[in-house]
Symmetry: C2
Subunit: 352 residues, 2 copies
């Protein structure tokens, strides 16, 4: 199951409401969604891929993943957080195969070592088949404050040569000192939002922790695959609680384990991380599209067609799209979302 929701405001002005991050070729020639699927393709047939998205983006999703059956693109009437989303997918998969094991992935991350990543997933699947709820824990490469962390507990077993640990605790995004302490301790992983579990196991946890959602899902079940499906989902979604799978389920789940993954993962969270994923020249510049630079260093220029001329820039980001342009120092790249928020407040919808 790939979660292909909205989002990506920190990649504005490329990422827009109608062209969210995962539908864009942020790194490389293909969309992040297409790349996410390509990474999984050696493991499973397209018939086993489920993508959950919103109605506006469904045609684009079908375009990005060749040969995906139309019924495998599930449309949410509105975003309600990942808990409901995952529950719906689990319900659909259970109806096809009650014994199925399910991998959940966001659509907007990159992985350098795809083969290694599939190895970790296989280990996760093995652990999940023993009934655990499995999270992938990204081995941290720095004291990042933008991610939640997973504190591992005791070593449970080895699966396909990968260690499987009990999860001691999920923690929220830490401050810098805490993040550094986590990094030094060496028993913490970034929460990637990638999970593996049997559909029975996750639905049992939903029933236990979110009975209202579970009841709603049961009310949808009979309509699945019929022409009433969309209406049934819409009816339930109106009143479903909006919460993430992390907070709504994982934090208090009974049997959670973590499989560490050291595979060059990035959530491509902002323009600075896009730049760091691209090949730089001798001056540390990443220059894409029509450009001319004089005496620039550590600068990322991305043009959609017009000429971008830069003189004497240090550590800057210049993103030029059809109707909007962003200029920002790399260390302020997280604040791009504030520009989007301000545009929203000002009702400048043509730029959203």
């Amino acid at each position: 199951m790939i979660l292909a929701g909205g989002g990506g405001t920190r990649l504005w002005p490329l990422s827009r409401r109608q062209r969210p991050k995962h539908l864009l070729p942020v790194c490389g020639e293909e969309s992040m969604l297409a790349q996410t699927w390509e990474r999984l393709q050696p493991m499973l047939p397209t018939a086993h891929l489920l993508v959950v998205t919103v109605a506006d983006h469904a045609p684009a999703v079908l375009g990005e993943i060749e040969s995906i059956p139309r019924k495998n693109v599930v449309v949410e009437p509105m975003g309600r957080g990942t808990a409901a989303c995952v529950g719906l997918a689990a319900l659909i998969i259970r109806k096809r195969d009650p014994e199925a094991t399910m991998i959940v992935l966001p659509a907007d991350h990159t992985i350098e070592d795809a083969e290694g990543f599939r190895g970790v997933l296989r280990a996760g699947v093995q652990a999940a088949q023993d009934g655990h709820l499995v999270t992938l824990g990204i081995v941290p490469t720095g004291p990042e404050t933008g991610y939640g962390y997973i504190h591992r507990g005791a070593l449970l077993r080895q699966a396909e040569e990968h260690p499987v640990y009990r999860v001691e605790r999920f923690t929220e995004k830490p401050d810098l000192a805490t993040a550094q302490a986590f990094l030094d301790a060496g028993q913490y992983y970034w929460n990637s939002g990638i999970f593996v579990w049997k559909v029975a196991a996750i639905l049992a946890e939903i029933e236990r922790q979110m009975p209202n959602l579970y009841g709603g899902l049961l009310a949808i079940e009979d309509a699945l695959g019929t022409r009433d499906q969309a209406q049934a989902i819409a009816r339930v979604w109106r009143s479903v609680r909006s919460i993430s799978v992390d907070f709504g389920i994982m934090e208090h789940a009974a049997d959670v384990v973590v499989v560490p993954a050291d595979v060059g993962w990035s959530d491509v969270g902002c323009w600075t991380s896009v730049a760091s994923l691209s090949t730089a020249d001798a001056q540390g510049n990443v220059l894409q599209g029509e450009h001319i630079v004089l005496d620039c260093e550590d600068t990322y220029i991305r043009s959609a067609g017009r000429l971008v001329a830069a003189v004497g820039l240090r550590g800057m980001v210049v993103i030029d799209t059809g109707d909007a342009l962003l200029v920002c120092p790399k260390e302020r790249a997280q604040d791009v979302k504030k520009i989007v928020e301000q545009l929203q407040r000002e009702g400048r919808n043509q730029y959203l």
Copy 2:
């Protein structure tokens, strides 16, 4: 006489070969040429205004100055420096009135105090009518290294309450230490390229110092006002020496005086000076066109229509035109001409 040649590469990407600086509304709503003429209008009728330009720009010049007689827009077949240009204008004016006094101005400067400026010009005219070659010397406001300086000599007289000094020496663009010494000495002015003289006086100096040019001008004289004019000029211009009136004539002229001008002059030489001529907000930003800024200071944004979003900029210039964009720190604004030179070398003519 207004010199409306090409140039303005430091105002790229706004200024282009086909839209040079003086034809653009760089500051305010009107072109610099139109503003230059408006400043003079209280002093003389349009019939007495001569504009020298190149063929490509002649239609635009006619459009910028309402009611200028077509024969008063003189076309050079190619730029040959201001010496030849001024000689040609002097010749044309002498034919209309051998006793005429002539004011020479570039088309691309701004003046804050237009009334004061006309007062200085009137003093210049009075001094010129005594036979002197008059230069306007801009009272320096800083140790500028981008201008030539005029070292004044003895006070010659007062004209219309303005002092008129003999010129001791013209100096080339100084280094910073020398410029500071000039400023401290207080007897130096910036060479503005604004001159006043009797046509007889300047033509006599041309005859003495540039006999070849003078001979060429005489060869043109009979054709003036006939249908052979353009061809006659073209014939002479082919072999005329390309040199400025400063180097070619003024530096070694016999009787040069300077009238100081303290009138808020600027040659609008680069984007930083454009910014400094515009009204800034409380953070020192000048923001023109569609924009959204977050936490910016001392920054100049100029958009021709698209949205420019800026986060965390300090002392930057962002100029967004239809097909090209410039991003540059203010202190590197002089280097924008190097971008244009590089585009020339690379043959990217669509951006020139």
